[in-house]
C-alpha cells in the first residue's frame, strides 16, 4: 500500500489502496495465523495465542488509512494489526518463537507485540487498558501541534470496563485525535454482547460522550476502509475523536485454550458465509480488477512470505540469560 504524508502541517492524504492490495493484506494475516495454529499444536509457539481469523477486514481496511506518522494501540489479539501496520512478518513470527530476533527480543510474545519504527504500541493484554494509552499518545500530538492520528482497537467486551468510560470522556473533553475502533465480534470469551451490556447498540453508547459514532460492516474490507476514511478526515480536521464499530466475528476459539462450548456451529457457519476474504475475492472478480489466477498467485507469494518468516524464526537465537534484567530500569548514562 502506498502512503504519503505531507509533513506536519499541510493536508495529509493517503492514496486509496487497491482492492487487490487489501485482499493481499488480509490474506497475509489469514495464512500467517493458520500457520501459527499449526505451530502452536507443534508446541513451537506457547503462552496465550488469540487468533484474528475472520476479523481481517477490520485491521486491513482501517490501517490502510494511516500514515507512517500515525500510531496504533491494539490488544492481545493483535497479529493482524501488527502485520497490516507493517511490522515485518519475520519479526512477529520470531517473537512468538521467543527469539532474540523477535520484535520484542522474545520478551513479549503473541500478546505483546511492540514496534517503534511503525509506532505500534502493543500488544496490551489487560482488557481496556490500551484506551487511556491511546488518549495519551493523542494528547502528546495535540499539545505538540502535530496532526497525527492514534488508532485504538478493542473488543466490545472492553466497553464494560471503567477504562473505556474514562478514556472516552477524556478524549472527547479534550477533543483529541483518537480513532476508537471497537471490533464487535459479539463475544467476550464465552460471554455474548447482550449478556454483558445493557446497551447493545454500541454507537449509541459512544455517542453519549458527544463523540461522532457509527457502525460499519466489519466483514467487508471496502466498507471498513470507507468508514475509517470518513472518521480520519474528521479527526485530522480537528473534529476530535471518532468511535467506529466494526461488526465482525472470530471464526476460531477465543484462544488456543478455549474449547468454544458457548457458540453454536450454526452461528459460526452463518458468519463464515461472509468471510472477508470470500467477499473481497468476489468483489475483485465481479469488478474484474484481477482474475482468480491473480489471486492464486498472490496466495502463493503470501505462503512463501509465511514460510520465510517461519524459517527466520526457526533460525533465530535466544536472548542470553545474563540479560534477563535488562530493560527493567535504564542504566544511568555515566
Amino acid at each position: 500500500m502506498t502512503r504519503k504524508a505531507r509533513g506536519q502541517t499541510g493536508s495529509v492524504e493517503v492514496a486509496s489502496p487497491s482492492l487487490v492490495d487489501l485482499y493481499a493484506q488480509m490474506l497475509r494475516i489469514r495464512r500467517f495465523e493458520e500457520r501459527c495454529a499449526q505451530l502452536y499444536s507443534a508446541e513451537r509457539i506457547r503462552g496465550f495465542v488469540h487468533l484474528y481469523i475472520g476479523q481481517e477486514a477490520v485491521a486491513a481496511g482501517l490501517l490502510a488509512n494511516l500514515t507512517e506518522e500515525d500510531a496504533v494501540v491494539a490488544t492481545y489479539r493483535e497479529h493482524g494489526h501488527a502485520l497490516a501496520r507493517g511490522v515485518p512478518m519475520p519479526a512477529v513470527m520470531a517473537e512468538m518463537f521467543g527469539r532474540l530476533e523477535g520484535a520484542c527480543r522474545g520478551r513479549g510474545g503473541s500478546m505483546h507485540l511492540f514496534h517503534a519504527p511503525t509506532r505500534f504500541y502493543g500488544g496490551n493484554a489487560i482488557v481496556g487498558a490500551g484506551l487511556p494509552l491511546a488518549v495519551g499518545l493523542a494528547l502528546a500530538d495535540s499539545m505538540q501541534g502535530r496532526r497525527r492520528v492514534t488508532a485504538c482497537f478493542f473488543g466490545e467486551g472492553a466497553m464494560a470496563e471503567g477504562a473505556f468510560h474514562e478514556a472516552m470522556n477524556l478524549a472527547a473533553l479534550w477533543r483529541l485525535p483518537v480513532l476508537f475502533c471497537c471490533e464487535n465480534n459479539h463475544y467476550a470469551m464465552g460471554t455474548a454482547l447482550d449478556r454483558s451490556q445493557s446497551q447493545v447498540n454500541l454507537a449509541v453508547k459512544a455517542a453519549a460522550y458527544e463523540i461522532p459514532a457509527w457502525t460499519c460492516d466489519g466483514m467487508d474490507v471496502t466498507a471498513v476502509w470507507e468508514a475509517a476514511r470518513r472518521a480520519i478526515a474528521i479527526i485530522r480536521g480537528g473534529g476530535g475523536p471518532v468511535f467506529l464499530e466494526a461488526a465482525t466475528f472470530r471464526f476460531r476459539a477465543h484462544s488456543m485454550y478455549d474449547p468454544d462450548r458457548y457458540r453454536d456451529k450454526s452461528e459460526i457457519d452463518h458468519w463464515k458465509e461472509r468471510d472477508p476474504l470470500l467477499l473481497c475475492g468476489q468483489l475483485i472478480h465481479e469488478s474484474g480488477v484481477a482474475t482468480w489466477e491473480d489471486l492464486a498467485s498472490i496466495d502463493a507469494s503470501v505462503c512463501t512470505e509465511v514460510d520465510d518468516a517461519v524459517a527466520y524464526a526457526d533460525a533465530g537465537s535466544l536472548e542470553s540469560v545474563e540479560d534477563l534484567t535488562t530493560f527493567v530500569l535504564t542504566p544511568a548514562r555515566a
Binding site: 506457547r46 503462552g47 496465550f48 517473537e95 521467543g98 527469539r99 520484542c104 522474545g106 520478551r107 513479549g108 510474545g109 503473541s110 500478546m111 505483546h112 496490551n124 493484554a125 489487560i126 482488557v127 481496556g128 467486551g157 472492553a158 464494560a160 470496563e161 471503567g162 467476550a188 470469551m189 464465552g190 460471554t191 455474548a192 449478556r195 454483558s196 451490556q197 478455549d258 462450548r261 458457548y262 535466544l318 536472548e319 540469560v321 534477563l324 534484567t325 527493567v328
Partner: protein, 325 residues
C-alpha cells in the same frame, strides 16, 4: 483420584447446595465454565442467577459482591486471575476490608474472593503475576493459599463461614494436581501453617505453587544428606508464627521461598519475623528465594530463569547449612 480443580468445584457445589445465600459470580464462570474450567457444569446445575456471568468490570462486580454480602448473601466472587485484581483493589482495601472497622463493628462483609495466581506458562509480563503480598498487607482481610487437595476442598467451606472477607489464591499450575481425597473431606482450619515434610537441618517456608518445588528440593537435599523441613504457610494473613518459629528453633536455619518478586514481598515478611523472633537460635542468615525482579518475559528460558526453581532452593539451603559445591 481427583484433582485440585475438581476439589474446588466440589466445594463450590457443596456450598451452593448447603446454603441458598451462596452464589458464584465472575467473568465467564457460567457459559464458558470458568477460564480454568473450575466451574464447568455448575451453570446447568444451579442456573444463571447463582452461577452469574459478569461483564468485564472487575471493580464493578467485586464491589457488587461486597454489597451483596452486606445485603445478607454469601457471594463467592471469582476474579479470573490476580493480574486483573488490581482493578478491584480499591474496592477490596477501602470497602471490603475497612467497612467493619469504619462502621464501628456494625457491618460485616462475609465475602469470599477467589483468584488464580502465578507464572510458569509463558504468559508474559501482564499475565504472570504473584501479588499475594499486596493482599497479605491489608488489615481486615484473611488471605488463604490452598496448596493441597484437602485445602482446595476445605478452605472455601471454612472461608464461607467466616463473617469477614477472605481472599483465596489458587496457583494456576496446581489445577491438574492429582490425588486421593476422602469422600467426606470437609472443613479445614484457616488459621495455622502445616509441616508438609519433617526435617532437622533447615526449614523451607513457603506456600501455594511453590510447595511442590520445595518438596522436590527437600527430596534432592535428602539425597545429599541434608534434612529439610518444609512448612506450608497455608494462611498468608494473619500468619501463623508458632509453627514456623518452633521449626526454625529446631533447625536453626531457614529459607523463605515465594514466587512473588523479592523486594517488599512475602519472603521479606517471613525473613523479618523469623530473624526477629528466632534471633538467638539462628545459625545462619535466612535465605530468600523469590522471583527475580523483572516483568516476567515470554521466552521460556528467560521465564524459568526468573522464577524460583528447585535448584535455587537447593543452593540456598546448602549455603545455609554451610555446604558449598
Amino acid at each position: 483420584m481427583t484433582t485440585y480443580r475438581d476439589a474446588i468445584r466440589e466445594s463450590i457445589r457443596d456450598a451452593l447446595t448447603r446454603d441458598d445465600r451462596v452464589f458464584l459470580m465472575g467473568e465467564d464462570v457460567g457459559r464458558y465454565g470458568g477460564a480454568f474450567a473450575v466451574s464447568l457444569g455448575l451453570l446447568e446445575e444451579f442456573g444463571e442467577s447463582r452461577i452469574r456471568d459478569t461483564p468485564l468490570s472487575e471493580a464493578g462486580f467485586v464491589g457488587a459482591g461486597i454489597g451483596a454480602a452486606l445485603g445478607g448473601m454469601r457471594p463467592i466472587v471469582e476474579i479470573m486471575t490476580v493480574n486483573f485484581s488490581l482493578l478491584a483493589l480499591d474496592q477490596i482495601l477501602n470497602s471490603a476490608a475497612s467497612i467493619l472497622h469504619m462502621s464501628g463493628g456494625q457491618f460485616n462483609v462475609p465475602l469470599v474472593i477467589r483468584m488464580t495466581t502465578g507464572a510458569g506458562r509463558q504468559l508474559a509480563a501482564q499475565h504472570s503475576h504473584s501479588l499475594e503480598c499486596f493482599y497479605a498487607h491489608i488489615p481486615g482481610l484473611r488471605v488463604l493459599a490452598p496448596a493441597t487437595l484437602a485445602d482446595a476442598r476445605g478452605m472455601l467451606w471454612t472461608a464461607l463461614e467466616d463473617p469477614d472477607p477472605v481472599v483465596i489464591f489458587e496457583h494456576g499450575t496446581l489445577y491438574n494436581l492429582e490425588g486421593e481425597l476422602p469422600s467426606d473431606a470437609g472443613v479445614v482450619d484457616i488459621h495455622s501453617a502445616a509441616v508438609r515434610r519433617p526435617g532437622t537441618d533447615v526449614t523451607l517456608i513457603t506456600y501455594g505453587g511453590s510447595l511442590p518445588t520445595c518438596l522436590s528440593a527437600a527430596e534432592a537435599l535428602a539425597a545429599e544428606g541434608i534434612s529439610a523441613e518444609v512448612i506450608d504457610l497455608r494462611v498468608l494473613r494473619p500468619m501463623d508464627d508458632e509453627t514456623v518459629y518452633e521449626s526454625v528453633c529446631r533447625t536453626h536455619r531457614a529459607i523463605a521461598v515465594d514466587e512473588g518478586w523479592r523486594s517488599v514481598g512475602l519472603t521479606a515478611e517471613m525473613a523479618a519475623r523469623v530473624s526477629e523472633n528466632c534471633f538467638y537460635d539462628l545459625d545462619a542468615p535466612i535465605g530468600r528465594v523469590a522471583t527475580v525482579e523483572v516483568p516476567i518475559p515470554y521466552a521460556k528460558h528467560l521465564e524459568q530463569a526468573a522464577l524460583p526453581g528447585c535448584q535455587r532452593i537447593v543452593d540456598a539451603a546448602r549455603q545455609a547449612v554451610g555446604v558449598h559445591g
